[in-house]
């Protein structure tokens, strides 16, 4: 029953939040005194040209009417027209989504696969030399600017050693789009040479993005394991003669992971934030790169489209994580 309440609560919270986000992005573009029209056609345009463009973009209507048009458009998945390419923003964004999702999912997988064991080992050997070394490593992960790490990786592994491709998703055009996820597409057509090339292109961006995400996972796993180790059920199991390995990697880890799962929303936030700069450095054709291209071209609509799009996705992920948390933690639903 309690689970149903969480579900309904979350869904009821979604609607005003998404609405509020749209109101904020609208306020940023329309209330802050800036002239998007001048940015597009330049300062020297004739008044007639300015008026024509304003009419085309709907900027000549009253503010309230503009907001209604903006909202109804967003609700239909219409993010407006790019000021730079003059193409629908939603088309461009959706075309770039697979690249970003592929990068994020692989990154998340790597970060979890590395972060959880490191967190457990760090906690089990707490205050040992190993623990201190691992903590320096993870604390550093939260202090490094991703774009700098990306550039250093490129400099060392691509330019000096020549081990990895410098940038891009693939050499040439890549597999014919079936799902848009290159790993999946290469597997479907059975082109393993292509698959190898796709994976080689992913190594550096994934490592760059995974480092701070892993650092966060290590911190929460370590704290969770430490808390679980000192709890009564572990003392009981030790007294019953369970092997320590089983206690740690089965019972303690399961209890510690609940805390880590609740942080997946936070980790997705880190991934989204880092994807903007990492995609730029590695010329990865995802939505982060789209945001930067829009910035460079003074495309206000494109930037706002990116903000709303990633914002809504992030809100949905967090709602999902909360529901998931209710499912796996029996204390939440009791």
């Amino acid at each position: 029953m309690k689970l149903l309440v969480i579900l309904v609560n979350r869904l009821a919270w979604l609607i005003p939040t998404v609405f509020g986000l749209m109101a904020i992005t609208f306020a940023i573009t329309h209330i802050i005194p800036a002239d998007p029209v001048a940015a597009v056609i330049g300062e020297n345009a004739s008044p007639e040209q300015v008026a024509a463009l304003k009419e085309k973009l709907g900027l000549d209507k009253p503010l309230v009417e503009q907001f209604v048009i903006y909202l109804t458009g967003l609700l239909r998945g219409d993010f407006g027209i790019s000021l730079y390419t003059q193409r629908p923003i939603s088309e461009d964004l959706f075309a770039r989504v697979p690249a970003t999702i592929e990068l994020s999912v692989v990154t998340l997988f790597v970060a979890i696969a590395a972060g959880i064991p490191v967190g457990v080992i760090s906690a089990v050997h707490r205050n040992s030399l190993l623990d201190h070394a691992l903590r320096i490593f993870t604390v550093s992960g939260l202090a490094i600017a991703s774009f700098w790490l990306a550039i250093l990786f490129q400099l060392f592994f691509s330019m000096y050693l020549g081990w990895t491709p410098l940038q891009g998703r693939v050499d040439g055009w890549g597999p014919d789009p079936i799902t848009g996820f290159f790993i999946v597409d290469a597997l479907i057509i059975g082109d393993f040479e292509m698959l190898g090339d796709v994976l080689a292109h992913m190594v550096l961006p994934v490592l760059t993005m995974a480092y701070p995400a892993m650092a966060t996972i290590v911190r929460f796993t370590r704290a969770g394991v430490l808390e679980a180790i000192s709890s009564n059920f572990v003392m009981y199991e030790s007294a019953m003669g369970f092997p320590r390995r089983v206690i740690i990697w089965k019972y303690v880890l399961r209890s510690a992971l609940i805390g880590t799962v609740t942080q997946i929303g936070l980790i997705f936030g880190i991934l989204i934030a880092n994807s903007v700069v990492v995609e730029t450095v590695f010329d990865w054709p995802g939505i982060g790169r789209y945001a930067v291209d829009s910035i460079l071209n003074s495309d206000y609509n494109g930037v706002m489209g990116f903000a709303v799009f990633t914002g809504v996705i992030f809100i949905l992920i967090n709602a999902l994580v909360d529901i998931l948390h209710g499912l796996i933690d029996p204390r939440e639903t009791r």
Binding site: P16, T17, G20, L21, I24, T25, I28, T29, I32, A34, R126, N127, V139, S140, L142, A143, I144, A145, S146, F147, W148, L149, I151, L152, Q154, L155, M159, Y160, L226, E227, S230, G269, I270, I272, A273, V276, V277, T280, V281, A291, V292, S294, I295, L296, S298, Y300, V303, M304, F306, A307, T310, G311, F314, I315, N318
Partner: protein, 287 residues
């Protein structure tokens, strides 16, 4: 007095926090005395095209950039920009966010709910996404970076202070002072605020680190102070077309960002261990 002595003693026992404090003190001194410490103090605005892209040497510790300016000197002046952005934007966020959190936490009613809803919306989206949107609309300038960071960061403090005020409100000492006839203002400022201040201090320290990283991202994307500003993120962005030959061009500004953020994170973690009694207890279990 007893508490302060206890905190100070704890602090000097905690070597990690001390390292953080040393780094931050060094940063502040460098920012203040950049004009004296810089080997080429004029190189923020003057260029020497004949010396461009030279590697590190005794004349140029960190090499020179595309304009032939001394990167070491520019990094020192960049510290001023970093400190200014971080202190003002975190300061503004605290000044806006904390009072709102106190009021929303102390009073019940639709207005409190509204305030928290608004801050929830901001928190529902990664800070950098809204900061990019605002900075892009306002145009590249240091005050716009500060505005973009403050406007997106205050809800974080509201949320923190709201939760702690709610918890504190039902404590006996608050009820006692209300019963003695203390005004709401007096209760909030003299009784609740001091009791939740340790959390605010810890978060402010950690927030400085994350704000410096976010500001560097804005600079890297070209949304920070315009050229020829020695802002660190912008310098790294400029360096990209001169790789792999001019490795020093990207390396040293990034190292500066790393050191400074590390300093704030270490100090923040140390302060949390010292100031937060809950953690203190769990730490003593942590043998």
């Amino acid at each position: 007095m007893e508490t302060i002595r206890f905190i100070l003693r704890k602090f000097f026992e905690d070597k990690v926090a001390l390292v953080g404090l040393v780094i931050i003190t060094a940063l502040v001194l460098v920012a203040i005395f950049a004009g004296v410490l810089a080997t080429h103090p004029g190189d923020v605005s003057t260029f020497h095209p004949a010396d461009r892209l030279q590697g590190p040497s005794l004349a140029h510790f960190f090499g020179t950039d595309r304009m032939g300016s001394d990167i070491f000197s520019r990094i020192l002046f960049g510290a001023r920009i970093t400190i200014t952005i971080a202190v003002i934007s975190v300061g503004l966020s605290v000044l806006i966010g904390v009072p709102i959190g106190l009021l929303a936490g102390y009073y019940n009613g639709w207005f409190s709910d509204l305030l928290m809803r608004v801050s929830d919306i901001f928190l529902a989206v990664p800070q950098i996404v809204l900061a990019i949107a605002i900075a892009q609309t306002l145009g590249p300038a240091i005050e716009n970076v500060i505005l973009a960071l403050s406007l997106t960061y205050w809800p974080f403090w509201t949320r923190l202070v709201y939760a702690e005020t709610r918890a504190c409100k039902n404590e006996t000492f608050v009820e006692a002072s209300v019963a003695l006839g203390a005004s709401p203002f007096r209760v909030i400022v003299l009784h609740i605020l001091p009791n939740i201040s340790s959390g605010i201090i810890v978060r402010t320290t950690l927030g400085m680190g994350s704000t410096i990283l976010t500001a560097a991202v804005l600079g890297f994307l070209g949304l920070g102070p315009p050229a020829p500003s020695p802002e660190w993120g912008r310098t790294i962005a400029e360096s990209r077309q001169y790789l792999p030959n001019a490795w020093w061009y990207a390396t040293f500004p990034g190292l500066a960002i790393f050191m400074v953020v590390m300093g704030f994170n270490l100090l923040g973690d140390g302060l949390r261990d010292i100031l937060d009694p809950r953690i203190r207890r769990s730490k003593s279990n942590d043998r």
